[in-house]
Symmetry: C2
Subunit: 342 residues, 2 copies
DNA sequence: ATGTAGTAGTTAAACGTTTAAGTTAGGGTG
DNA sequence: CACCCTAACTTAAACGTTTAACTACTACAT
């Protein structure tokens, strides 16, 4: 491993001069500058980030943790989000440290460890919720972080989120335009903030369209295929005048459960019952029929979150510290080919 | 931030003593040991990993990079593999640094940068292939790494892989047992080593079963849904005596293309044509019909790869430096309910 | 009494950077 | 010619650890 000393010796200058040349600080004459650069080139010298880190009391690392999915479920955001983050971080000389969230009993422990040992300069949080202990801890510790997702209205912290209200509104409006009147929503348990927003979008859009909502059209269930499949079934056993002709599910995985429940009832997805998902996971386009879904700008969120965090770490004020992005409705056959319009 | 000096001052000893206590090296009397530990406790002291890293000339970081998928495809391994790695790494005091693979023009550049700046102590490679420039570089640089996947037979380096030959053999045997005789294989281009192994499994199992293989039953296509969908179609336009009654696809995504091609031809998946995928991605079980597929022990591979790498980094000899794991065939309706047996 | 060995601790150097402070030479000014 | 200023360096300290080398003390054998 070649160090700054080797370069200094080779160029016939002191190590300080080498450092000044490399960082562009300090007054160095052009000839010496060239000498140093040549030595750097010849030796293939690169400064040790660890030594720089010790000196600057910074690691140039961004911590990110996610909770693993159960084996039969996919994480709809990880790949694109992580890639967006890693790219943006690298552009600024930072890197992403991926650490596992261990026991849910003490969610904060791994974060605390990273902070106290100086492993990372800041965190990106995802999957935030109300009363998120991680947010509380990081605010208390005054440690930089940016969240993908919101939390309690009272807490002031930087976040980026995708507007679930707007997204589901888009979905419902699309269905209304296609002629649907009886639209159901497969929602999440009440404690999910993201679920609250998305459900709110449903309620608002239905009201805006002047449509009534039967109580049995809103079903809350877990974020799993099996539960969605099971809990969507009763809809299609309802009498013809109460049976929904369209369903908005809060997740593609849940939408798949709905689609299969439709098939189980001897009905056709897209034909008898329109279905819309959320996330636009890569499989959505390849299902039978292809699933209409709301696409989150995940790479953009990843980039934004990281650039905000780096500004924060560098002590710069954020231009916008709370950003709400719109999802985009990707229309596919699960809502077209509807028999209602024709 | 509290340092070892603070602890030393509080405990009334030298910093060396604190270090000795914390590392369990050196001779320290029990009373002083207690004093030090109490001070550590009271101050909430944790050693700075960066300072330790500088001293030890090691970062306790493992680098991992993956190529991003096109937007409409999913990465079937990332989440579970990464989680397996991160868990295993954390257990040994290491962490995973996720960096983006940038331009394919110089695949090695980001690796070289990590090596030269001392960012990581070793790498995990995935998606290796023949003549992989990353392997060549790391071998030349004598830098520790372990690969998920094999490469040229002549290169001696540590790897873990899932046995594609065995996997596809399992698949074909399963189909043969169900009574299938005309079995096709949707394979990858010739330059993919993984594809070679899997195709070899097909050929070997067909030969073992005493079954002939029509040339048009082996189709090579890209690892995409669209191409698979397009290139599987001709099979189902073949005359009844040459048309395959079962297809093994090298990927779940490709299998989905095949399934939809079957439906397009007015046939039923599972009924008229059995389909098997590879990867057992989370969606496989929720497709219509649920897809039989080969499950790779991804978390196990991740753990194994990391523990091997850490041994390597610590200069220990590896018990086994080349490990081949068996995939497991998960049987679902896409191969059951076949009309052949009954 | 003297040397020896072991125990328990301290001192100081080292890891590879950055940077404040100091030094030197040269040129301009009165 | 003495003075000051500036440009272009160098010296050395600091960041927070680990660890080799040293010191001081006690206990014990000779």
């Amino acid at each position: 491993m070649t160090t700054i000393k080797d370069v200094a010796r080779r160029a016939g200058v002191s190590i300080a001069t080498v450092s000044y040349v490399l960082n562009g600080t300090g007054a160095v004459s052009e000839p010496t500058r060239q000498k140093v650069l040549r030595a750097v080139e010849q030796l293939g010298y690169r400064p040790s980030v660890i030594a720089q880190g010790l000196q600057a009391r910074a690691s140039r690392m961004i911590g990110y943790s996610w909770q693993p999915m159960p084996p039969d479920q996919f994480n709809p955001i990880l790949e694109k989000f992580l890639h967006g983050m890693a790219e943006a971080a690298a552009r600024h000389g930072y890197h992403v440290l991926a650490f596992p969230s261990t026991s849910p009993s003490d969610e904060v422990a791994p974060y605390r460890e990273m902070v106290e040992t100086g492993r990372v300069d800041g965190f990106v949080l995802s999957n935030t919720n109300l009363d998120d202990p991680r947010i509380q801890y990081l605010l208390d510790a005054d440690f930089p972080f940016v969240a993908f997702g919101r939390s309690n209205a009272g807490l002031d912290f930087p976040w980026v989120d995708v507007d679930g209200v707007d997204g589901v509104e888009q979905a419902v409006r699309h269905l209304v335009e296609l002629g649907h009147r009886r639209i159901a929503c497969l929602a999440w348990p009440e404690d999910s903030l993201t679920g609250q927003y998305r459900l709110q979008g449903y309620c608002r859009a239905m009201a805006d369209a002047g449509l009534g909502v039967e109580p049995e059209w809103i079903v809350r269930t877990g974020n799993f295929y099996q539960e969605a499949h099971r809990d969507a079934r009763p809809w299609f056993a309802l009498s013809l005048d109460r049976r929904p002709t369209a369903v908005v599910a809060l997740t593609d995985l849940m939408a798949m459960g709905v689609m299969n429940a439709v098939v189980d009832a001897g009905l056709a997805v897209g034909g008898d019952v329109a279905v819309i998902g959320f996330d636009d996971s890569p499989v959505a386009g390849y299902l039978q029929p292809p699933l209409t879904s709301l696409r989150q700008p995940l790479a953009e969120v990843g980039e934004l979150v990281v650039t905000m965090l780096i500004d924060l770490v560098r002590g710069q004020a954020l231009a916008r510290s709370q950003v709400l992005l719109r999802p985009r409705l990707i229309v596919r056959d699960s809502t077209l080919r509807s028999r209602l319009g024709s």
